[in-house]
């Protein structure tokens, strides 16, 4: 407790020197219209133009989301350079940034309006349980590389922050219905309303149901599992202005999801999710800067398989609750120095499963700071640092491991992180960035002891000794605009080191004196990656638009002796495709809007978990996939779109677990 208090004192001292700044929230739309480019706070916590951020960030706009024809978030992200999507089923997919593809993808932190939607129980994101409709998204901000110094644990390989329209400033009203192959049905509605001059409210709701892909059905049918997925979400957001200098916001969300997914042991399982959240924030312009208090709680109830075929299908209900409170201040000192200081507290708990009777959790105290120094008009240096102090705890019945009590769980994990970036703009057409960062991926609650599975011949349990994975990223970026061609390009060269890779199942299992096998998670080695990302985007006369990208990357793992991939299911060197190529083109002409996007991925491997607790590698051959959307504006308000996903094949293997089928979907959307 002493350390957080010292940080609070430092924060207060800095604030006393700050230049006052007037109060007003971030009107993304107005600022974007003024500067002619997207505005973001996801790089440093302070508002910045996308071209100024000291990190490799890609912003997917509302127009691009619509033109993609996607009906879910992973499909929107599937054509972003540097982003990989493993689509396991109709509503189950994992997204990773810069490779390290695996089920659950715990290295990527995902947020909705700054609230974590990352699920700490297994360390993952259930994309279809994010309570947002595509029509209410203003932009999706994708940070490539660690940004733990701003967002904390698990922003290790990247961050995706989904920003919705703000009812205080924006107006959006849309409703969609659709249907297609796989007996797919969807409905979605979004509406905002102004409350005089002082506030606004946003309401949204939607859902879908669908049969699973044929290969997934064949996989889960013998296990007696369901072959159908369905989802529903709802959200309400109230944002009010209190006088001239203060604002407050309250957001309540609900999501339910029932689907087939793939768990970290590379096995299918069927899970029910029921997720609720409440987020409140208050901001005020004060003499010491723009102060903001944010608090939220995520209540996750997950019922279903906590283990797959290898360990025997075991079902249980996980109750995972996260509570988060943050106080931050953004202010300028003089004309060229911008600071952000923040302190955070979070508490995260879950019950042990499937053997109940105990509770695992942790509290985290954090302090962070950011200093952006505009050295010259064309040169800026940004440094951000953070310290997270985690207190692990366990209570209730003793663990399954014989002769082990709760005491070993009472330990601390203290991790520093940093982001530093030098941004040089030698002219209007170029931006050069040199960045370095240290990110931290925390072991999941399940790995830290949330899982305790007892079978006659084996015990599989989390342990308190698993260490975080630390990711270092060193990068050089060059953004260039070719104005005569209305084209922007980006070149990113990065080198990444991951220390202490985690595996949910160590290859070094123990055999207890009773003859029972003890399986535990462990840190199993290190890894290095070098990669290049080339991308270009432009427009042509006649309403044409295009984009292209190529990202070669090479991963090399140094696994510890006794931790071969066949025992751990970890082989990032081969689960990461070495070459990914994207190309897209589209045209808006009159009432028509037509787009197509193709992606090529070179061959890679995945795994299938076997009943004897080993993993068999499965080769996934190089593949090309093509998605397209043709939309026709029937009236001023009504648009009819025909969407094809994977239109060049009827079924294609894209993961080790199953194949993806072609999807054809029709959507009627009204905007009013």
């Amino acid at each position: 407790m002493a350390a957080p208090q010292r940080w609070l004192g430092l924060v207060a001292a800095c604030c006393l020197l700050a230049t006052p700044a007037a109060a007003q929230g971030i009107d993304y739309g107005a600022l974007e219209a003024l500067f002619g480019e997207s505005i973001t706070v996801s790089a440093t916590g302070s508002p910045q133009r996308a071209s100024d951020v000291p990190t490799d960030m890609e912003i997917v706009t509302a127009d691009q989301i619509r033109q993609s024809g996607a009906t879910n978030l992973p499909d929107v992200l599937a054509h972003v350079v540097g982003v990989d999507v493993l689509r396991w089923g109709v509503s189950s997919a994992d997204v990773s940034i810069r490779g390290y593809d695996a089920p659950d993808s715990p290295r990527l932190l995902v947020l909705l309006n700054g609230r974590e939607v990352y699920l700490d129980n297994y360390g993952r994101t259930q994309w279809d349980a994010i309570p947002v409709q595509l029509a209410e998204i203003r932009q999706i901000e994708i940070v490539k590389g660690p940004n733990t110094a701003l967002f904390g644990f698990n922003a290790a390989a990247g961050v995706i922050n989904i920003i919705t329209y703000d009812p205080l400033y924006d107006t959006v009203r849309a409703a969609s219905i659709g249907g297609g192959t796989q007996d797919f049905l969807l409905g979605s509605a979004v509406g905002t309303a102004k409350l005089g001059d002082w506030g606004g409210v946003r309401l949204s709701a939607g859902g879908f149901r669908s049969d699973e892909f044929a290969a997934v059905r064949q996989l889960v049918e013998p296990l007696g599992l369901q072959q159908r997925s369905q989802q529903g979400t709802a959200a309400a957001d109230l944002h009010v202005r209190i006088g001239a200098d203060q604002e407050a916001e309250l957001e309540v969300t609900h999501a339910s999801l029932n689907h087939v997914e793939v768990i970290p042991t590379w096995q299918p399982a069927v899970d029910d999710y029921d997720i609720n959240s409440v987020r409140g924030s208050y901001s005020a312009n004060t003499g010491v800067g723009l102060l903001q208090v944010t608090a939220y709680t995520n209540i996750v109830r997950q019922s279903g398989g906590v283990s797959g075929g290898a360990l025997g299908e075991q079902t249980a209900t996980i109750n995972n609750q996260k509570t988060f409170v943050q106080l931050q201040d953004v202010f300028k000192l003089g004309a060229v120095n911008t600071f952000r200081v923040a302190t955070e507290y979070q508490r995260n708990t879950m019950n042990t499963v499937p053997t109940a009777g105990a509770q695992i959790g942790y509290q985290v105290y954090s302090a962070s700071g950011m200093w952006q120094w505009q050295i010259l008009p064309e040169l800026a240096l940004t440094n951000a640092a953070r310290i997270d102090m985690l207190q692990l705890e366990r209570s209730g019945l003793p663990p399954l491991i014989p002769a082990l009590a709760n005491a070993p769980w009472h330990r601390h994990i203290d991790e520093p992180s940093f982001n530093t970036g030098l941004v040089y703009r030698p002219g209007d057409n170029d931006t050069l960035r040199l960045t370095a960062a240290r990110g931290v991926q925390l072991p999941s609650l399940v790995e830290l002891g949330g899982l305790q599975l007892a079978l006659p011949h084996l015990i599989a349990t989390g342990v308190p000794t698993v260490q975080p994975t630390v990711v270092y990223n060193y990068e050089f970026d060059w953004d260039h605009t070719i104005r005569p061609l209305n084209t922007t390009t980006r070149t990113a060269l990065f080198y990444q080191v991951s220390d202490g890779l985690q595996a949910v199942q160590s290859g070094k299992y123990l055999i207890l004196p009773t003859g029972i096998v003890l399986l535990t998670p462990a840190n199993i080695g290190d890894s290095q990656e070098i990669g290049l990302e080339l991308s270009a985007r432009g427009t042509l006369t006649g309403g044409w638009r295009w984009n292209a990208g190529y990202s070669p990357r090479l991963v090399r793992d140094q696994l510890l002796p006794g931790q071969p991939p066949v025992l751990t299911g970890v082989d990032f060197a081969r689960t990461t495709p070495h070459n990914v190529i994207d190309f897209g083109a589209g045209r808006t002409s009159g009432r028509w809007e037509i787009d197509a996007a193709a992606r090529f991925e070179s061959n890679f491997i995945g795994f299938n978990g076997l009943p004897n607790n080993t993993y068999v590698p499965v080769q996934v051959a190089a593949y090309l996939t093509l998605d397209a959307r043709a939309a026709y504006q029937l009236t001023h308000n009504l648009t009819l779109a025909l969407i094809g996903q994977g239109i060049t094949y009827s079924s294609q293997r894209q993961t080790s677990v199953g194949s993806v089928d072609r999807r054809v979907i029709g959507v009627l959307q009204a905007r009013f």
Partner: protein, 196 residues
């Protein structure tokens, strides 16, 4: 069989490599050439300039809404200044809607600025030379921002804001001059512009 396939690959791959190499070199040359290309020079005020002025003013606190009017300050004795002023007035037209405001404008000779009433800002047209002091005095008296396209005006603290709209939008704010005139901007705006 294996040998034949290998030869075929060799025969097909090398020419492809050359094509890709040439394409790559062409793109790289174009990129390098565009680095050296000079930035275009603004000839006169455009509607885009009017939009930037309107949207910038929507970040003044307290936040204005509805129709606002700016004074376009010009020197009657300088034909170039009058030309600039008229081009901006033409760009704004009968009213330029941008965000929460509709921008209108009227021409005001720089000598009469002090008497201008009901204006939300002063926009400086062309080079007013020594008359810029009158702009600074009027901005302080009326407590409104003074806006120019000349960076030197902001550097000398006689204007509060300077902007350029091409090729990218750049806004420079003299915070001391703004404070002297009692003009305040939204914090997000201040964090996004360059301050002197």
């Amino acid at each position: 069989m294996h040998r034949t396939r290998h030869e075929t690959r060799r025969g097909g791959t090398l020419p492809q490599c050359r094509v890709w190499l040439r394409c790559g070199l062409a793109v790289a040359s174009l990129m390098l050439a565009s680095i050296a290309a000079p930035a275009p020079v603004r000839a006169q005020f455009t509607q885009r300039d009017g939009q930037i002025i309107a949207r910038t003013l929507s970040f003044v606190e307290p936040r204005p809404t509805g129709t606002i009017q700016v004074a376009i300050a010009y020197a009657p004795s300088h034909p170039a200044s009058l030309h600039d002023a008229e081009s901006l007035l033409g760009a704004i037209g009968d009213g330029l809607h941008a965000g929460s405001v509709t921008l209108t404008a009227r021409l005001v000779p720089v000598d009469q600025l002090a008497d201008a009433a009901g204006i939300a800002a002063i926009v400086v047209a062309g080079d007013l030379g020594a008359d810029l002091d009158k702009v600074a005095q009027a901005a302080q008296r009326l407590q409104v921002p003074s806006i120019s396209t000349e960076l030197a005006c902001v550097r000398s603290a006689r204007c509060i804001l300077a902007f350029s709209s091409e090729p990218t939008v750049e806004i420079v704010l003299n915070h001391a001059a703004a404070s002297n005139a009692g003009v305040h901007f939204a914090p997000a705006f201040r964090l996004l512009v360059r301050e002197l």
